[in-house]
Symmetry: C2
Subunit: 355 residues, 2 copies
């Protein structure tokens, strides 16, 4: 029995997208591919409000998180630890031989411009890495304000953003907000199968990368750019997913970008209300994520059992991540899920728990 | 109109595999995924005759070519240049800050154990990288003999093999031949869509990697192993392609492994005979590839025009690669193509060219 996914990735994929995954193969040096690639990039530029570079990386987001560090940082980078995924990005920087300083944020709280300012004022940083939507805590960090701060006070510092679980679920004005690198996998709010990462790169970040040592090849912006100008990729790309992304971009524009983001907020509002009534919100009310809600398990229910019962009814949610396992559970409301879906889900949970 | 792909990747994908790409999504930390992952790995171990580690990398082969270097080489590695793809691997090693020595092989000729011996005897190498099947020249290099040589005379040197366009089209006895890392993308002889790379890693290579500096995260064997023991991956994997690979492994065993390799030889023999009759084989007759034939364009036909005519008839072949553009053209005979397909193709070419 299919379990509808209310987990923060992979998310539920609609039939039209599954069909787009099953198209016959084409050559990646053929005009058919270049046309496809060009269409996808044009649509993404409009959607993400950027005139910068856009690369399609055949990898999960984690690959390009590593890539962005290798491209943009010679020596030292400011990282955050506001949950499992920002912490992992810091680990990636270290494993790539970069010196880091780490902003330790209390779990469930946001990374603020003030924190970033305090650390950057020490000097010596080439970039700061911000996790837009921390999937493990359900916090959305204020990247617009952080971008504005860095642009004004630290114009030489690049702003790299992990928008893995926010892009396509909430507005990101890449150029206006001064974001140099913004990356996201396709299996979250884009609601496609996993295996592809979309990344925007500002001209400033691109030029800076040319002077960085030991950038490697696979995620190297320079290598990606050499082929991007021909609407191609250096290595064979995940053609099926790129085709599905092209179809999905049309679906997004058909729904309307504003309507899409409002739908995410509407789903979030329903889940938050239900959470406040029956449990408690784990995270700071001022920075709640529009794509995933972290439910503080104040009733100490058995989350594994709850998921087992939900499975019988055709749904799946996520346990708390890492240290929050059992203490929280997470309901994702992103991608192609509808308000009726999350209403149905909370109704099922009420029924199972006798709420 | 669909063009049947006689190019050396992506290759023609049959309907049953396309359907397997379109299955509903599952969670990558769910038991459903672990079961799938475990099944695929078990089948691959049997197919590749190895008891070593097998990792599924969500990337094209190029990503893991970089990864294998980062995992296995601290300082110096022996590379070859026997065509465009071996040359690129050497470039990747350099871009990752490794010192290389390069065996320059004449185009169309094989990399021999004698050449490898000559270079390795200089000392100081941690690994040697061999391109099994050089897709740009249609040469299959003798990795069995090279593996035997290294095992006997240079037991501390790791043997890394790019089997991108050979794996699943010809037998590779990973353990018996002493191959430490063998990697291949899924869009060549596996006949799946691109976006996934299969890599085998010997215990010796794995242990060696633990002492290598600056291995990064995404392709890091240690990180892959931590999750592989739970039949998972560190980052979200390309679930659709892994599902298609599982279906394809069953199809391979159903056809019979021997029968599959014989079919590749039969297709190759037909294309070689046709080539000898009408053009000439570009590459050394002793090392002809069973998966792709490089046709020396002795008639100086216009390859672009030929492909345009073939397109009208629903087929596509490849021009010569790099310096060989126009001087050669390539006919791939791998994956799920049948002898009747290549017979049909050469018949169409005869008809177009009036041969």
């Amino acid at each position: 029995m299919y379990k509808k996914l209310f987990i923060p990735g992979p998310t539920h994929v609609v039939d039209e997208i599954l069909e787009a995954m099953a198209v016959p193969m084409i050559g990646h040096r053929d005009k058919l591919y270049s046309d496809l690639h060009g269409q996808v990039v044009t649509k993404l530029k409009k959607f993400l409000q950027t005139n910068g570079h856009i690369y399609l990386s055949t990898s999960s987001s984690t690959g390009m998180m590593e890539g962005s560090i290798r491209n943009c940082v010679n020596n030292k980078v400011l990282m955050t630890d506001c949950g499992a995924f920002s912490k992992r990005w810091a680990q990636i920087a270290t494993l790539n031989g970069k010196e880091i300083d780490l902003i330790k944020v209390e779990m469930g709280q946001a990374t603020t411009p003030e924190m970033v300012d305090e650390y950057l004022s020490k000097g010596g940083f080439e970039a700061v890495c911000i996790t837009h939507n921390e999937t493990s805590t359900g916090v959305m960090n204020p990247i617009e304000e952080i971008g504005a701060l860095v642009k004004e006070k630290y114009p030489d510092v690049l702003v790299l953003v992990d928008a893995v679980s926010s892009m396509a679920g909430t507005e990101i004005k890449v150029d206006e907000w001064g974001l140099d690198v913004v990356l996201a996998g396709t299996q979250k709010a884009f609601a496609l199968p996993p295996g592809l990462c979309v990344v925007t790169v500002s001209e400033k970040a691109f030029q800076r990368s040319l002077d960085v040592e030991n950038r490697g090849f696979y995620f190297n912006f320079e290598e990606l750019e050499k082929k991007a100008i021909k609407n191609q990729t250096p290595a064979t790309p995940a053609i099926s997913i790129i085709n599905a992304l092209n179809v999905q971009m049309d679906r997004i524009f058909k729904e309307g970008v504003e309507a899409r983001f409002q739908r995410h907020l509407d789903m979030a509002e329903h889940v938050r209300s239900w959470t406040r009534k029956n449990f408690a919100l784990y995270s700071d009310e001022n920075y709640l994520s529009p794509t995933v809600t972290n439910v503080h398990n104040t009733r100490e229910i058995d989350v594994v059992n709850l998921n087992a019962e939900l499975a019988k009814r055709g749904a799946m949610l996520s346990n708390g991540y890492g240290d929050l396992k059992g203490k929280c559970f997470r309901i994702a409301h992103m991608g192609d899920l509808q308000v009726a879906d999350v209403q149905w889900l909370t109704g099922q949970i009420d029924n199972i728990l006798g709420l």
